[in-house]
């Protein structure tokens, strides 16, 4: 006999309570406390309301250039990820060949490589006089200008690092595209491009949004790769926050930078929440 709605409700709420409380405790409360720390500043006369740290951040050319390089890196990475991962995901979804399994293995592989190891490997491979230079040299081609220590260094590393998650999310979205709909479209004469544009893409927009949101959230505050592979300045927000906190001993400014970073990330977080909510509504 099914339980009546009245009796089921408290159990459901209890089940949800644990994750909700965890999120409140570990995520929401630190955010609130961070915002409070940056607007109620400690002065010799006691704590005072002040927007000084934000005024400093948004009037300081150095901070702003760090923010803009972070936005640039995130944007470029997101575009590159989509361009690289969508074809891989499409191939994996629609190919029945044995090779597909190896391609999938390769696409997932970066997930198991820690970023610090990846950084040093990239210096060896793409760095000056690295493997790529040696290969080019062997076939009498000129040396490349190494991306190491330029803004492109972290872009290459971050894209490589984020391929697995993006491919997996896109692949799960492609699971919603039924073979019948593809065949039906083919029967009425749809070409490859028409198939992609009219049948496949509309069904996976949600997945694309989710994949990009996840990638952007990770990249925006990335630390190791921008730190080791990127230029000294401008630096991305991750290394900037860490340096302000640990080397300049200035927690208030570091928290201000964190709140600003959070402000940008929440936009993409909302994208994600919206698409999940849209999926849930019947």
């Amino acid at each position: 006999m099914p339980a009546s709605p009245e009796r089921r409700r408290p159990v459901g709420l209890l089940l949800v309570a644990v994750p909700v409380l965890l999120v409140l405790w570990l995520v929401i409360w630190p955010i609130i406390s961070a915002v409070i720390t940056t607007i109620w500043l400690r002065t010799p006369e006691g704590t005072q309301f002040s927007l000084e740290t934000y005024r400093f951040f948004f009037s300081d050319g150095y901070s702003l250039s760090n923010l803009s390089v972070t936005l640039w890196t995130t944007g470029v990475c997101a575009i590159l990820l989509l361009v690289i991962c969508l074809p891989i995901a499409l191939y994996l979804r629609f190919s029945d060949s044995k090779v597909a399994a190896y391609v999938q293995g390769l696409a997932i592989f970066p997930m198991f490589v820690p970023s610090i190891i990846l950084s040093f490997a990239l210096i060896r491979v793409l760095g000056p006089n690295g493997t790529v230079d040696l290969l080019l040299n062997a076939i009498s081609l000129p040396k490349i200008r190494s991306p190491y220590l330029t803004p492109w260094g972290p872009v290459i590393g971050l894209v490589w690092d984020n391929i697995p998650l993006t491919v997996l999310i896109l692949l799960s979205g492609l699971g919603n595209v039924s073979n019948q709909s593809i065949e039906a479209a083919r029967d009425v004469g749809a070409g490859r491009f028409a198939l992609l544009w009219h049948i496949i893409l509309p069904r996976i927009t949600n997945s694309i949004l989710v994949a990009i949101s996840f990638a952007v959230l990770g990249i925006f505050s990335a630390f190791t790769l921008p730190y080791i592979l990127g230029p000294a300045a401008p630096e991305m927000m991750g290394p900037f926050m860490q340096r302000t906190f640990r080397d300049l001993y200035d927690p208030t400014s570091a928290i201000t930078q964190a709140v600003v970073t959070f402000g940008f990330c929440i936009v993409f977080g909302l994208f994600y929440v919206r698409s999940v909510a849209k999926n849930r509504t019947p």
Binding site: Y62, A100, P128, L149, P231, R246
Partner: protein, 383 residues
């Protein structure tokens, strides 16, 4: 189907590893020791200090743990600070290569043992140059040198003074690189040498407590001009590596001809074949690149605090201090009078009697911030 099974098992294994139990409690008589230094220092402790100390103190063992870098030790120190307010066990006793000014608030709350009060029998032997605050115990020093590729630069032509070095960098664009001053002492001490040059090579102008905003504003900008002047002639028109190791790597890949490097680290790298035999070393003769002292800090709330203090005292003994010279290629933390006389004679020519030691603390913050804001943005982000 195979693919899916693989994915499921891989995800399961990853999740399983994340929740593996990591609980542990500090054991009585086992000193939990953490370092922020490189592998050569950990090897030194493993092969020299640990056996000697354990032989001299039966029942006490050393648990040597590589804490990674400064950030790694800082998070353990934060755990110690949190443990202090809750009277819990910090599971850490002894830090090698850490500054007790971190984390913020630790000094005020008394997280660190004050070595002036701790009753070390060897405390009076310390080299006065190395002492800054009583919660930092300087036990070894090392110096920054210039390491270069002798196949590209004849040792006879290696720069011997600061003006020579500047002239060489400009004459050989792209062949020199130093690391960011906040990550790695080789770059930091190169920057400090520029600061000294801009202030008449006068070390006495810099003390631990005179880094006032007026002083830093008056004394640092001239140094930034020197560094900005050479920036376009550096590797990749003004790139800076993110650490000592990364600089050594570029020298090893023959991407640059000369770098500043820690004496002990570069000697070890040559010995292990990371750098070729043809690597040359040179020190500036007008005023050497500054060196620094590595400090010991001890948590005042560690379970083995007394044993840790005994270890700190032991490290200052003649036996270990001599080993710092012979095994590590570093300088003793004690005054030279307290090193075996034969060693004193042997190293007299190689090691200058005075190592320029630049004060840390607020000067470091001022240099770090000023360098990032003034010198580093020389890199054109669009390039």
């Amino acid at each position: 189907m195979k693919r899916r099974t693989f994915m499921i098992s891989a995800a399961g294994a990853a999740a399983g590893m994340a929740v593996l139990p990591r609980m542990s409690f500090a054991a009585e008589g086992t000193i939990d020791w953490y370092t922020s230094s490189d592998q050569n220092i950990l090897d030194f402790w493993t092969n020299v200090v640990k056996p000697a100390f354990e032989a001299a103190n039966p029942g006490t063992t050393l648990n040597l743990v590589d804490g990674g870098d400064n950030a790694g030790l800082q998070s353990i120190a934060e755990r110690g600070l949190a443990a202090m307010s809750s009277n819990a066990d910090p599971q850490a006793d002894f830090f090698e290569g850490f500054d007790s000014r971190q984390p913020v608030g630790a000094l005020e709350q008394g997280l660190w043992v004050d070595f002036e009060q701790a009753g070390l029998s060897n405390y009076s032997k310390l080299n006065p140059l190395g002492i800054d605050i009583p919660t930092n115990l300087p036990y070894r020093g090392s110096q920054v040198l210039l390491a270069y590729d002798t196949t590209k630069l004849d040792p006879a032509n290696a720069p011997k003074t600061w003006p020579d070095l500047m002239a060489w960098i400009k004459a050989n664009p792209g062949q020199f690189i130093y690391n960011r001053p906040n990550k790695g002492g080789s770059g930091l001490n190169f920057v400090r040498r520029a600061v000294l040059e801009a202030n008449g090579q006068d070390l006495s102008k810099f003390t631990v407590d005179n880094a006032t905003p007026e002083n830093t504003a008056a004394m640092l900008p001239a140094a930034w001009e020197i560094l900005k002047d050479i920036a376009p002639s550096l590797f990749d028109q003004g790139a800076y590596t993110s650490g000592n190791t990364q600089s050594l790597q570029l020298l090893g890949q023959a991407a640059v001809t000369m770098i500043p490097a820690w004496s002990d680290q570069v000697l070890k790298a040559i010995e292990q074949g990371v750098l070729p035999e043809t690597t040359g070393l040179v020190q500036l003769q007008d005023l050497g690149l500054p060196g620094g002292f590595s400090r010991i800090t001890i948590l005042s709330n560690g379970v083995n605090k007394d044993a840790a203090i005994k270890l700190a005292d032991f490290v200052l003994s003649e036996e270990i201090q001599s080993a710092v010279l012979t095994e590590l290629g570093g300088f003793p933390g004690v005054s030279w009078d307290y090193v075996a006389s034969d060693l004193r004679e042997r190293f007299a020519d190689i090691i200058p009697s005075s190592i320029p030691v630049f004060p840390s603390g607020p000067w470091e913050v001022a240099i770090n911030d000023g360098w990032y804001r003034t010198v580093a943005p020389n890199v054109d982000p669009a390039s």
